[in-house]
């Protein structure tokens, strides 16, 4: 435990100023309200895409709070805002801005890729902590994050491609679609940008997450590190 807090305080100078819990709650509530507005708009205006996207996004925004309450895993306030913002900007985009603002798609891709990068980093840290036989020094984390995000991007694009084919065959409107070669490659490029940002700045915020998850899951019989 002391080792963890020591490593966190060592990393603190590199992290962004922490928002207070109140600020985080306000930001989250504000985004959730707008998401509710989008769902209502979808119902009233008869836009099924806005309903599905808005509802899924709204559910995702409750995950950080859920993790804290039910599993007692305290997340960095920024992490909560970050998760909420990623789904929020995507939903706003599919409601309106993807079509109107050319860089909106790039913004959401970098943002959601940064989230995937965070998941990848936390997974690697968890494996590193959990297995005695596996050791991943921090200088390799950078490469791992990039590989993880790029590979996930390929799987994601293939998933969208599959949805497109199903949509073409059946005529069912899908919440996701590909928009040609340029869009696919640009998605991959902005995914890499998001991954690079996380690999450079995100480790300070994420360094404790894997430890805290492990601690709360194995709190009875965990080894001391």
């Amino acid at each position: 435990m002391s080792g963890i807090s020591a490593s966190i305080s060592r990393l603190l100078p590199r992290s962004l100023p922490r928002p207070s819990v109140q600020t985080q709650r306000r930001l989250t509530r504000g985004m959730q309200l707008i998401l509710v507005g989008i769902v209502v708009y979808g119902v009233v205006g008869g836009a099924p895409k806005a309903i599905t996207n808005g509802t899924i996004a709204l559910l995702v925004t409750f995950i950080p709070a859920l993790l804290e309450r039910n599993y007692n895993i305290p997340l960095d306030p920024w992490l909560g805002v970050w998760i909420t913002a990623a789904v929020f900007f995507h939903t706003l985009g599919s409601a309106r801005f993807y079509a109107e603002i050319w860089w909106w798609d790039h913004l959401t891709h970098a943002l959601s890729a940064s989230l995937v990068a965070g998941v990848g980093y936390t997974t690697i840290r968890a494996v590193d902590i959990h297995s005695d036989a596996i050791r991943i020094p921090p200088r390799f984390a950078f490469a791992f994050i990039l590989i993880f995000v790029l590979a996930f991007g390929v799987v994601w694009e293939l998933f969208e491609f599959g949805l497109d084919i199903i949509a073409d065959e059946t005529g069912i409107a899908m919440p996701l679609a590909q928009h040609g070669l340029d869009d696919t490659v640009l998605d991959s490029m902005y995914n890499s940008l998001g991954a690079l940002l996380v690999a450079t700045f995100g480790q300070a915020h994420l360094s404790g997450v894997a430890e805290r998850i492990r601690e709360s899951l194995l709190s009875d019989g965990g080894r001391d590190e």
């Binding site: 596996i134 050791r135 590979a151 694009e157 890499s192």
Partner: protein, 243 residues
Amino acid sequence: MNSHMDTDRSDSTSLEEGADRLEAAPPEATREDGGIDADAPIEDERVEDRIARLFRNGRTNALFAWAIVAVLVGVFAESLLDGDLISMAIITGLAAVVLAPAVSARDWRVMLPSELLVLALLPVLVGALFGGELGIFATYVALAALALVITVELHMFTSLRVTPWFAIVLVVMTTMATAAVWGILRWNADRLLGTNFLTTNEALMIEWIYVALAGIAAGVLFEAYFRRRGRRLRRAIWRVVRR
């Protein structure tokens, strides 16, 4: 197949002997690997010991591996004459990967298993010896083999430690990540240099499907490879890779 098995066996015997010989020399160096050596600098002896266990030091395997190196030298000479800088850089990198174990152990017989080298360098070898090109699937299986070789060498030479399952997951991800990077590079070349690598989104997606399949196939292949090696050799590899 049968003769191959025979050489396999003789190689593994000599490997085991080599490992025993080296193990006998530094008695402490081998046991404490479980995690204590995180801070200690890696001594030459211990590196040699790990290599002796993983890499075959049989003559047959080494001769075969050096024949592959000879082909690499030939390809390098050819690209030198053509003034092809990219090809020269790639070949130099591959040669470094192939020769790293022998150089670090200062023993010409310490080489990676030659079947793994053949698979990893298949696109280069096929291009050099038969003048053909492999399909996407085979190319990316080869790339996965190269990623496996590099992962194992990082495991040997740095503080990175992997297990077989983790190495395989990593290799499958690396294969797909490379496809993404290659796509990005070609797209930008098309825009900035006026090349015509990429055609349609559909073509790229079909390429990526093959890449994903190749990555998964390579993962299954390596899993089987780790399992089906001669019992002694497998034990030797797993002992090292597990650390």
